[in-house]
Amino acid sequence: MNVEQVKAWLHGYQQRLSEVHELLDELDNRIGDGDHGTNMLRGFQVACAQMTEAATPSEAVHKLAMGLLSTVGGASGPLYATAFLRMSQTWREMEEVSLKDLSDGLNAALAGIQQRGSANVGDKTMVDVWAPSVECMLSDPTEHGLLEASRVARQAALNTRQLVARRGRASYLGDRSVGTCDPGSVSSAILFECLAITLVEGMEAGPWTAQVL
């Protein structure tokens, strides 16, 4: 993956956010404070514009992270920013990242998310998506593994519906948090999906609608 592909991935994601931000707000409204889509869209709009000058994958995600850090706020801001900062560190000095490097970067990102937010799998947070998807990529760092990771991410996001939230704002609802998919998990699954779309010919965006979620 070269720097242009990294940019394509993230611009693609920004584009997707502009389509689904109301859906993410709606999910967050049910078990949180209704701003996850607005937060993410605001952040990626500004942050993506700051990537323009970046010459390497590492630089691109670093600029993105700094942009997120100064615009998103909320819980998702520091978490996504930390994730991209860790990718940037992993890919330092690389002109291009292999699928193996990509997997390592995503793995480091997951570690960063967990360090910042101390959530575990099953807590109904974005970790529920990142953990199995990264697992997938690590064990099979190929196009096939990436497609699989995207599929797994989607399923994991849907599976958060039946979980009781134990981290983040939704956790205050206790049992009442069951029955709605976690918004950060959905935004994370879409990030993995956009990655697969960028790197794998013929891969298409899945339906993310209120009916499905």
């Binding site: 607005t38 706020g73 909320g74 801001g77 520091p78 920013a81 981290r167 983040g168 205050y172 009442r176």
Partner: protein, 327 residues
């Protein structure tokens, strides 16, 4: 029905500008959403903040004897680390800065990232995390309780401590002490309407109330049917009393806080019933605050906060402050 904002992106900055021009002691750090005292004293700096939508929190608590800076995020969204860092830099007088953080994942992470960045720059930063909402069960498996209206007492008392010249460690000790002794619980009679979407933050059938709400328009921890006010007030007071192990001879500060759309007339009636219940328990009310201190936009409802005092906290609570929203 909400106001139609010609430019929703400027909602927070326009609001802050309206505040600043109405309160001569306040200024906005240019290019930021940080409100600072227009004149800073040589003392430990106090910074708080969080999402907007809780007005008069947090800008209203900036002033002599309370905060030095308040950082405003977007509506119900924690401010970014950059913004918090701007505030820390602006108020540090070389004596260090205390961050007063409400226990929300977003607030904690954003303020902590800012603290790390400030410490890298050589600024001494301490933090206190307020988690006064007894509606939420406290357990090691969860992130613990939320920070709600009780935070205002931390602003006030830590503010008085810093104002008299206490060291950063001492201000932090006192702030932690207040945080450990303050207990709140609230309920909602209606959701709030989000200015961004124009939609209610939840649906509530007529005749029901949300019990154990936060301050971001979230539904409560459970739903109940509407009962006469005396019963609702007793329920909140009793829960707060149990969680704080209130004893007969305890002395407390009380706060009856409106969530945004409950008339002050009704808050006055709440205050009357709450004090009657505390009288029954045999608790002495040293001070009682009545009004809107930590709101959730235009949610109808109220919260009750009890702070258990001792002589140290009492004298700091009674100190002068010029912060516009303290009264």
């Amino acid at each position: 029905m909400n106001i139609l904002h010609p430019n929703p992106d400027r909602l927070v900055t326009d609001m802050l500008d309206g505040f600043v021009r109405s309160h001569p002691g306040l200024a906005r750090l240019p290019g930021t959403q940080v409100i600072v005292r227009s004149q800073l004293d040589q003392k430990v700096g106090l910074v708080s903040g969080g999402g907007s939508g809780h007005e008069p929190a947090h800008a209203g608590y900036v002033g002599y004897g309370m905060l030095d800076a308040a950082v405003a995020g977007q509506i119900f969204t924690s401010p970014t680390p950059n913004e918090v860092l701007n505030a820390i830099r602006a108020v540090d007088r070389g004596l260090g800065v205390l961050l007063i953080i409400k226990n929300y994942t977003g607030d904690v992470m954003n303020f902590e990232m800012a603290a790390e960045l400030a410490q890298d720059e050589g600024i001494a930063v301490e933090k206190v995390i307020v988690a006064d909402d007894v509606a939420v069960e406290n357990s090691t498996f969860t992130i613990g309780r939320r920070g709600v209206a009780g935070t205002v007492f931390v602003h006030k008392i830590a503010g008085a401590s810093a104002q008299r010249g206490d060291s950063l460690q001492e201000v932090k000790r006192i702030a932690d002490k207040v945080a450990a002794r303050v207990f709140s619980m609230g309920l909602a009679l209606s959701p709030c309407i989000l200015p961004t979407t124009g939609k209610p933050s939840f649906d509530l059938p007529a005749g029901e109330v949300e019990i154990g709400i936060g301050i971001h328009g979230e539904p409560g921890v459970r739903r109940g049917s509407i009962a006469p006010l005396t019963e609702l007030v007793d329920m909140l007071i009793d829960r707060v009393a149990a969680e704080s192990s209130l004893q007969k001879s305890d002395e407390v500060a009380l706060m009856i806080n409106g969530m945004g759309a409950t008339p002050l007339a009704e808050l006055g009636v709440c205050a009357h019933h709450a004090m009657a219940r505390l009288d029954q328990i045999g608790v002495k009310i040293h001070k009682s605050l009545l009004g809107e201190y930590m709101t959730s936009l235009n949610m109808a409802g109220f919260s009750i906060t009890v702070l258990k005092l001792d002589s140290e906290l009492k004298s700091l609570l009674d100190e002068t402050t010029h912060a516009p929203a303290w009264r």
